[in-house]
């Protein structure tokens, strides 16, 4: 589905079903150098189980135009996208950089946000200066490095989006496609710099009105599971830890779906 925001096309995958704004919404927000397709399983399931799904491509990623945004601006962009979609109330699910953007969006949406699920997250989300330097010098090498750190196994089962796919190869190809697709600049640098620069938790947390769940990978080497103390302290979240690396959507698709479903039920119980 395409929505016009600021004169740029904003694309959101609706889970293989037409978007129905009368249903409770779920917005999925991808991480750095990713797009909507990382959520294919979780978003498709929820779209076929009574939810209005928007798995977005952030500006300058995939099918959305525009330029890359910082975390706060991207949070604002998501909030405006939700309002433009007509959905009355929505859950926000974000991965890595997308988890911080989802936090910002939840803060802006206030009562419109039903649940916040932060997947593979950390705060602060500092990025090694060596990685940023590498991405300036040799972005393909930087992608390979991030890919090696993002996947904890070469044998995730049943693989993603299905048997026969290499999650390692798929993630590398996706990051290369995103980097290549933004010809106007260095998307890797923009995304990882946005993660590194974000310091808005203290301002955002008091404005988040919905329950929060953190879904962490016990083998995550990108956002270490112990690096969530400020989030736990300020958001008082439910914490779910899955046996996976940073690429939780691909390494633990069913476990993540179960965690998201539990979070959605948490809202229904309120």
């Amino acid at each position: 589905m395409n929505i016009d925001l600021d004169g740029h096309g904003a694309y959101a995958y609706t889970g293989g079903k037409p978007f129905d704004a009368t249903l409770p919404g779920v917005v999925f927000v991808h991480g750095a150098l990713h797009d909507h397709s990382v959520w294919i399983l979780q978003s498709r399931y929820l779209a076929h189980h009574g939810r209005a799904v928007l798995a977005v491509d952030l500006p300058a990623h995939g099918r959305s135009g525009g330029t890359p945004l910082g975390v706060e601006a991207a949070g604002q962009w998501i909030a405006r996208l939700v309002e433009a979609s007509g959905v009355q109330r929505t859950a926000l699910v974000g991965h890595s950089m997308g988890s911080l953007i989802a936090l910002e969006a939840a803060a802006r949406l206030g009562a419109l946000a039903s649940v916040l699920v932060m997947v593979g997250t950390a705060y602060p989300m500092k990025v090694s200066p060596k990685l940023l330097e590498l991405c300036q010098r040799d972005v393909l090498a930087a992608i390979d490095l991030v890919n090696a750190l993002s996947n904890s196994t070469h044998a995730a089962k049943p693989s993603h989006p299905g048997p026969g796919f290499s999650i390692h190869g798929s993630n590398r190809a996706l990051m290369r496609r995103m980097q290549r697709g933004y010809a106007e600049g260095n998307l890797f640098m923009a995304d990882f710099s946005a993660c590194d620069a974000y310091g808005g938790l203290a301002a955002a947390a008091p404005r988040v009105q919905c329950p929060t769940t953190l879904v962490l990978g016990s083998r995550d080497q990108m956002t270490l599971p112990q690096a969530v103390a400020p989030l736990v302290e300020t958001l008082k979240p439910r914490v779910v830890t899955l046996p996976a690396g940073h690429n939780l959507m691909a390494e633990a698709p069913d476990g993540l779906l179960a965690a998201i479903n539990q979070a959605l039920q948490q809202d229904q119980a309120r």
């Binding site: 995958y13 293989g16 797009d35 397709s37 294919i40 399983l41 498709r44 399931y45 076929h48 995939g62 090694s128 060596k130 990685l131 590498l134 390979d144 490095l145 890919n147 090696a148 750190l149 196994t153 070469h154 044998a155 089962k157 049943p158 693989s159 993603h160 989006p161 299905g162 048997p163 026969g164 796919f165 290499s166 390692h168 190869g169 798929s170 190809a173 996706l174 290369r176 496609r177 080497q221 698709p253 069913d254 779906l257």
Partner: protein, 440 residues
């Protein structure tokens, strides 16, 4: 940031796609000889059928043992995924059938395996898919042959029978300028000698019957997708970018940015054509792949010794191996195939008794074959055992000498597939047979 990188080839060949079995602790890959797989619940069943969850339903579509092979070869080739098929021919057919239909057009190299040529030239034309064949070294011909309905460019890493080295970087650039993917048959080289996806190819297939399994025990194929081709931007592939009524209106390019080709190939091609691989076959290929690097190194080392022997032998008119300076692709081979040019090649017998310098006769070719003791006379390549065939008396026996010449084959052309035996024994065997050919 040292210490964080992709595992090397030898490690992936043993580990990619496989972990100890969580149910039994089995370290080796189990053979899942099960047609179908139990659902946890009705909701689980429905979500598997609708691609809301990943998992196995029915072994024609996917199987846990076959999936290990698929993920392993994808890792070795640097792709996003793979599909195991009943044969290399089935892999080629699956690639074409996923992208092309009646009215579609393919541009292919003339230097192809005979089975591939038959499929393209005779069989697919019956289904409305036309192929234009071009000399693989003629880059202008590749470009000129592309039409508005062209769906694929197709060649072999090392062409048949002269081992023409496909200039993948340049041919893929021509393909991409036109919004067309390049499909490459990588059977002769395996990912140990060349990774076509890294050089610019978009799709790769292997006859796993050959070096990947390596022991002449199975028939199988694997189709690999590099995941970098932009099907939506091309504008030529409604099969992937428009709703597919055969799968709930799914738009494959929306579902997966990097894997729409494989999604459609599995959910349509395997589902409907059904040329799937047996899990037992997949297991045997996995056994082969675990030692692929060791075997290919030995295959190439033996081949170099045999090539050197033949190139200097007075009964040999010529040897077609790209590592020789006499080969037209010698320079390109050094660039694209630094580890070696494989273990399959042809050489030409010289005329008998040294009384004339012309080509050998068909009867001399037969005499050579019949005198061999170690080389097995059969129609296959890539076995751990050394193999030989005389095309003029077997695969091409219906052709007269003129027709043979147009196919790049002479009456005395011999094709060898060098195995893993002691190279000195192979050289003795060949030397003895060359004497027999000389006397015939």
């Amino acid at each position: 940031m040292a210490g964080y990188s992709d595992p090397a080839f030898d490690t992936l060949a043993l580990h990619a796609g496989a972990a100890p079995d969580p149910a039994t602790g089995a370290r080796a890959v189990p053979i899942h000889l099960s047609t179908s797989f139990v659902f946890d619940s009705s909701d689980h069943a429905a979500s598997l059928f609708n691609m809301e969850r990943a998992g196995h339903v029915y072994s024609r579509i996917s199987n846990p043992t076959c999936a290990v092979l698929e993920e392993r070869i994808a890792a070795l080739d640097g792709g996003v995924g793979a599909i195991a098929t009943a044969s290399g021919q089935a892999a080629l057919h699956l690639a074409i059938a996923t992208l092309a239909g009646a009215g579609s057009h393919i541009v292919a190299s003339t230097a192809l395996y005979g089975g591939s040529h038959n499929l393209l030239h005779y069989t697919l034309s019956r289904f409305g898919i036309e192929t234009t064949f071009v000399k693989p070294r003629d880059l202008a011909a590749w470009k000129a042959a592309i039409r508005p309905h062209t769906k694929l460019l197709f060649g072999e890493t090392l062409g048949n029978p002269g081992l023409d080295v496909l200039d993948i970087p340049r041919v893929s650039a021509i393909a991409h300028d036109a919004g067309v993917p390049l499909l490459v048959d990588s059977t002769f080289t395996t990912p140990w000698l060349m990774k076509p996806l890294d050089l610019g190819a978009d799709l790769v297939f292997h006859s796993a019957t050959k070096f990947l399994s390596g022991h002449g025990t199975i028939v199988g194929g694997v189709l690999v997708d590099g995941g970098l081709f932009d099907w939506a931007a091309s504008g030529r592939f409604a099969e992937l970018t428009q709703p597919y009524s055969g799968f709930h209106g799914m738009v494959f390019a929306e579902e997966s940015t990097t894997g729409p080709f494989l999604l459609r190939a599995r959910r349509e091609g395997l589902r409907d054509f059904g040329a799937c691989m047996s899990p037992h076959t997949a297991w045997l290929i996995l056994q082969g792949i675990e030692t692929l690097a060791l075997r290919m190194e030995r295959h190439v080392a033996n081949t170099r010794k045999v090539v050197q022997f033949l190139a200097q032998h007075p009964m040999v008119q010529g040897v077609g191996y790209p590592e020789l300076e006499s080969h037209p692709d010698h320079v390109l081979a050094k660039q694209l195939l630094p580890r070696g040019c494989g273990a399959v090649f042809c050489f030409e017998l010289k005329g008998s008794r040294g009384t004339h310098e012309g080509p050998a006769t068909r009867s001399q070719g037969k005499a050579f074959i019949e005198a061999l003791k170690i080389f097995s006379h059969l129609a296959n390549v890539g076995d751990c055992r050394s193999l030989v065939i005389h095309p003029a008396s077997t695969t091409h026996f219906r052709m007269d000498d003129a027709a043979l010449a147009s196919a790049g084959i002479g009456p005395g052309t011999i094709r060898l597939s060098i195995g893993l035996e002691d190279a000195d024994d192979l050289i003795d065997d060949l030397g003895r047979a060359l004497k027999a050919a000389q006397k015939s």
